[in-house]
Amino acid sequence: MTTTSRPRQLLRLATAGSVDDGKSTLIGRLLHDTGSLPTDHLEAVTNADGQADLAALSDGLRAEREQGITIDVAYRFFSTPTRSFVLADTPGHERYTRNMFTGASNTHVAVLLVDARTGVLRQTRRHARIADLLGVPHLVAVVNKIDLVDFDETRFKEVESELGLLAQRLGGRDLTVIPVSATRGDNVVTRSDSTPWYTGPTLLAYLEAVELAAPSAVASELRLPIQWVARPTDHQRRRYTGRLSAGTLSVGDEVLVLPAGSRSTVTALDTLDPHRAVAVAPLSVSFELADDVDVARGDLVVSAATNATAPVPAREIDATVCWLSETPLRAGDRVALKHTSRTVRATVQELHTRLDPETLEEHDSPSELALNDIGRITLRTSTVVLADPYATNRDAGAFILIDEQSNDTVGAGTVSDTREVVPGEQTRHDIKWHPSSLKRDRRWSATGQRGATIWLTGLPASGKSTVAVALERTLVDAGRTAYLLDGDNVRHGISDDLGFSPGDRAENIRRVGHLTRLFADAGVVAIASMVSPLRSDRAIARALNEAADLPFLEIHVSTPVDECERRDPKGLYARARAGELRGLTGIDAPYEAPENPDLAFDTTGADLDDLVARILTELARHEGLQA
């Protein structure tokens, strides 16, 4: 009954090492000697002579038994009075390194196996590097088959110093080394009489004593990614769920919801445990907030305390990845990135290094990362990611990469650094603007066309597109090249990866800003018809054009919201009022009118030709100024 009354800790461990180092035998030995191996399981691997093949216990698949290798992670369980253990038996075979990665990702201890006869091998180094990369807190090396070198202390010391060198190369990690014979059971659970020169712990003693650091339980360090939102009914408030990766949460706590930045207070909290009022990592919770703020899956709840630190809303991520796919990873590739409960699109900006598994040396600027390669890369995401460095928080700093065509998980990585990218201001050292051999004047005079941008901003259904279409036609009829960049059309192609969050809207405007600059430079009158609700976003589009000495007209179509809602050709307002559409500009999202537009008009009762004429007059005035 002791097992039921005492709270015990769960320790997760993974084994690693080359093929034939004896991992499976070691696990069989651990299970057997801790009394965790049912007799029927033992019988199943015992031959007619009564010899048990402990290695066969883990090889659960037909192909594994046939080939005598471990293909996939097998999970095994054993327990002692103080701890229960979940053991990931990970494959040694190089082809299945990705499974070692999976098995070791959330473990506390990595058990590295080394054959006493061969010493440290390529695969040993690779696995140690992966364990290190994964931030596995504790590394223990088991020098196995010590019986096959006659329990020779000198040989053990040799291997021990090889391992010491390896630990040094991993940044001076602490590494416990234990001489073991898994087949005979020396120093696994029972101390061996054959190694009197060894005074350290047995493997089990080590596993029972190793200290488990809990995730941060400092209230201000809260990290709670939202997983799922329960829709409210008449009797219920909106309820949010998620799993803490750091910090604490309790009723009365003030929190911030990122990336929106809304602030509220926790009014109800379910930790699933009736005896626990304060949630800590890694508990899963559900909670309610005092205010009806917008919270969605993928948002991050952090503490609103004054001393709290929140992750930056990053668009660029420096990371170390393990590539898990047969198709190599190259710069420019697009992938889906899943981080906590948020999945975003990402582009591989740059491959910085590739790790040589043999020498553990990093090679700069590789052309690709192949299957099982580990490298450092920079990713650019289509919308913000709220990540912590992996060294600070294993859950908030880890991600997987998914191929959008096959849906396969093709990469796994850890975040080392994140950057907020201010649109239009990022500096890139690896790319240069390639100048055309033609000067703009030469181009414009040869075609008789001068470029400019006319940017129409205003509420949905304010009449922007109607004016824009008439303007385009009038310009073309007059012999000028003009082209309409409509907000909806842009979202069909150039911005089809973007949604309507503030970050995505800003990115959309930035892209259209760049497009108008290219069009105008070519001698086209670019007409952008975009709601573009925020001043800061429009300022970026203007700055891009003006920096290139191109005329930019900001025109405010200032039709009042009542009139827009009355028109409602796409039924947007009706849907917003019915609660089916969130974040409609003018209803539940802000519209910031231009402070100094080049022109402003209300389309209510206005004459279309008159409006077009006013724009053309303004354009001519700008061009006059330009000339």
């Binding site: 009954m1 015990r8 800790q9 029927d40 659960g60 080590y206 769920t241 626990r276 998980t409």
Partner: protein, 309 residues
């Protein structure tokens, strides 16, 4: 490396609560990422724990998915009673997929004779039910400690459009990042209890004071021994002339098709008693009571490849 185990302070989470938090996280991820989940429920202890975790994951809202029982037709009556009461009480929607119906429709063929079971036939019935209701995710109560092929399972087990499992092309599953993306017609089987052991299940039953069908606790029953398994006497399990029927005090470690599920001799008539027995048991749950896994070394692997959960 000196530290003694930590006390259950606020910062340290007890192993059962850690397993609970992990399972709830998995259940919520799948509900958020997939369209039409369903929970497989046999009224056995694992699925009772799984149902409880799902209820906790969404309370006070009702379960956002229905419950599916693949009924072999060879049931312990106590279990079916329990199933109906447990689900009705909490207002869950139950769908029953019947192996008997699959046989009647000619989807599967039953081979007769003693020692045969409907376990293998369940796979077809399960796949048909998933297809009929267009379920794309099925929660199951399988644990990795049960059996060697089970120990190889991912938490989210990807299945092709035929429901088949390919152990060589499983998706890597690092950290707690589960990839639930599938194409139309494909499915995932989801095992939130992957990291639980039989003992964890019983200790959670105790912690949460969960009700179980009465056959889990010691009671007197007419049984006979076949191939080392104690089978209960029923209309589907009749002894041959050489098999002796005895009245013994027994309980069941698993609930399954009664033609293949064996009883164990026991005096444990409450949860605490059962925990004590299991903690000291030297034979595994399946080894002691499930005849179907003994037919070949790779019986479970083969059934999983075909689409069994």
């Amino acid at each position: 490396m000196t530290a003694a185990p930590h006390a259950d302070t606020d910062a340290h989470v007890d192993e059962l609560r850690a397993l609970e938090a992990e399972a709830v996280h998995i259940i919520r991820e799948v509900v958020a990422e997939l369209e039409r989940p369903v929970l497989l429920f046999s009224a056995g202890k694992d699925s009772i724990v799984l149902l409880r975790l799902a209820e906790k994951a969404f309370r006070p809202s009702p379960l956002p998915f229905p419950v599916l029982h693949v009924d072999t037709g060879h049931n312990f009556p106590e279990v079916i009673d329990f199933r109906d009461h447990r689900l009705a009480e909490d207002g869950h929607r139950l769908i029953v997929a019947s192996v008997q119906e699959s046989i009647d429709k000619g989807r599967v063929t039953e081979t007769g004779g003693p020692g045969t079971s409907r376990n293998r036939l369940q796979t077809r019935t399960l796949l048909d039910a998933l297809e009929e209701h267009r379920f794309d995710a099925a929660f199951g109560g399988a644990r990795r400690d049960e059996e060697r092929a089970r120990a190889k399972e991912r938490v989210l087990s990807f299945r092709d459009e035929f429901g088949q499992w390919d152990p060589r092309s499983q998706r890597p599953e690092p950290w707690s990042l589960y990839n639930g993306r599938i194409r139309r017609g494909e499915q995932v089987r989801v095992f939130p209890l992957s990291n639980w052991t039989e003992l964890d299940i019983w200790r959670y039953v105790e912690l949460e004071k969960l009700a179980l069908p009465s056959i889990y606790f010691a009671h007197e029953r007419q049984v006979f021994e076949r191939d080392g398994i104690l089978l209960g006497l029923s209309e589907y399990t009749l002894p041959t002339e050489s098999e002796l029927v005895q009245r013994l005090r027994v309980r069941y470690r698993t609930v399954g098709d009664l033609t293949i599920t064996g009883a164990v001799r026991s005096d444990a008539d409450d949860v605490a008693g059962v925990i004590e027995e299991i903690a000291a048991a030297t034979v595994s749950e399946r080894g002691e009571t499930r005849a179907d896994d003994r037919t070949s070394v790779a019986a479970m692997e083969d059934r999983k490849r075909e689409g069994y959960f």
